[in-house]
Symmetry: C2
Subunit: 230 residues, 2 copies
């Protein structure tokens, strides 16, 4: 990779998915501009994972931007609402953070336009997930359409591409993809409600999806769960 | 207005336009949830104006949310780039902040969804303006389409409405509208590059548009300019 490789802004939460996406962006020849949002989330420990991953993946820049979404609340991750521990359900759970990915992609778009990058990457997926609306293909398409009319670069004919290479993968596919890329999944963090001693709780939806992904992929799970794997 | 009136999230920068929009939202029967973004802008003094206006307009809540866009730069308002003082030009000036209104509306959407509001107001206009792409009708339409697929409420059938009642007004129209609403324009702040003594510089695009609006409307301009009106 050279200085003249194109740069991409990668939303890096610190989880398994965003880690895999960042490595895929790098594999495709992009220089990595990693963007992590410190939204005062319950699981702030994921920020440490993001720092480790940005360094390990050779990100050229890493911005951790504070945007305190507890000012708005409305989610178990940003307000005093319990994180569900009784297994995945059909409806959208209270861990949904209103407009989170819209906000995060908007910030990524701002950084991209400011620096000349035209590619954005994020690790959403719409199969083994919690049913969040902003993790689907329709969301990406609508955001690209917005970016085309919302920005100077867009109106001047540049196209912003939003890459979501995991969107149609199962969690097991993602675990296998991470292994193929030689990534240490133990460096990533998924749990919404960390247990004492920096353990994954093992019971929240995010832990259940993670754990099940390793099992289904037949890959050893390096995660330290407080309970489980569920 | 009663507790059962619907609430609306109003983006309140502290300028003449957002002041007028907030008053229009109130006139239409909405309870005001004012949202101001402290993006570490050069003209931070507008935050004081936003505070004054939120109080004067009887906003039920006022959130001033820090989102430091100088981390991205790329604009005369968020980086060490001079604010142009030589008059309005045809091209989009360096005061354009990449994806600013996309970011701001996304945050407004998050707050709205979290609290049950379905109406967003912002003071963009596409006539006497600096050519910013995110101040046009196309931008609003694309954002509404995004909100419909990006949110839990949207996918459940609720519709988020983005109101931009000034979008087809001239600055003179806005000055007249503010006067009709009984607003004190002197409480608002427009200047991008404040002069010592909390004066409007009189020469930046925003000052020129403001000053010209009062002249064309035939309304006395209460603004204290360091130079001009230009």
């Amino acid at each position: 990779m050279t200085q003249t490789s194109p740069a991409a802004v990668v939303l890096l939460s610190g989880g398994l998915d965003s880690m895999t996406v960042a490595a895929l962006a790098r594999e495709r020849g992009f220089r990595l501009m990693a963007l992590t949002i410190d939204y005062n989330q319950r699981h702030k420990v994921e920020l440490d994972a993001a720092r480790r991953l940005a360094a390990a993946l050779g990100a050229e820049r890493h911005v951790i931007l504070p945007v305190d979404l507890t000012a708005f609340g409305g989610s178990a991750l940003t307000a005093d609402i319990d994180v569900p521990k009784d297994g995945l359900k059909d409806d959208i759970p209270v861990t949904y953070v209103p407009a989170r990915n819209t906000i995060f992609l908007s910030l990524a778009l701002g950084w991209a336009e400011a620096t000349g990058a035209r590619d954005l990457f994020l690790g959403i997926n719409a199969l083994d997930y919690s049913g969040y609306p902003d993790c689907r293909r329709e969301f990406i398409d609508a955001f690209e359409a917005l970016a085309a009319v919302a920005t100077k670069a867009g109106t001047e004919g540049d196209r912003f591409r939003v890459h979501a290479p995991l969107v149609a993968m199962t969690k097991a596919d993602i675990v296998r993809e991470a292994a193929r890329l030689g990534l240490d999944a133990g460096m990533s963090w998924s749990c919404y409600d960390p247990a004492p001693g920096d353990l994954h709780c093992g019971l929240c939806d995010s832990c259940r999806l993670r754990s099940r992904g390793f099992v289904e992929a037949g890959v050893v799970d390096p995660t330290r769960y407080a309970v489980g794997p569920a």
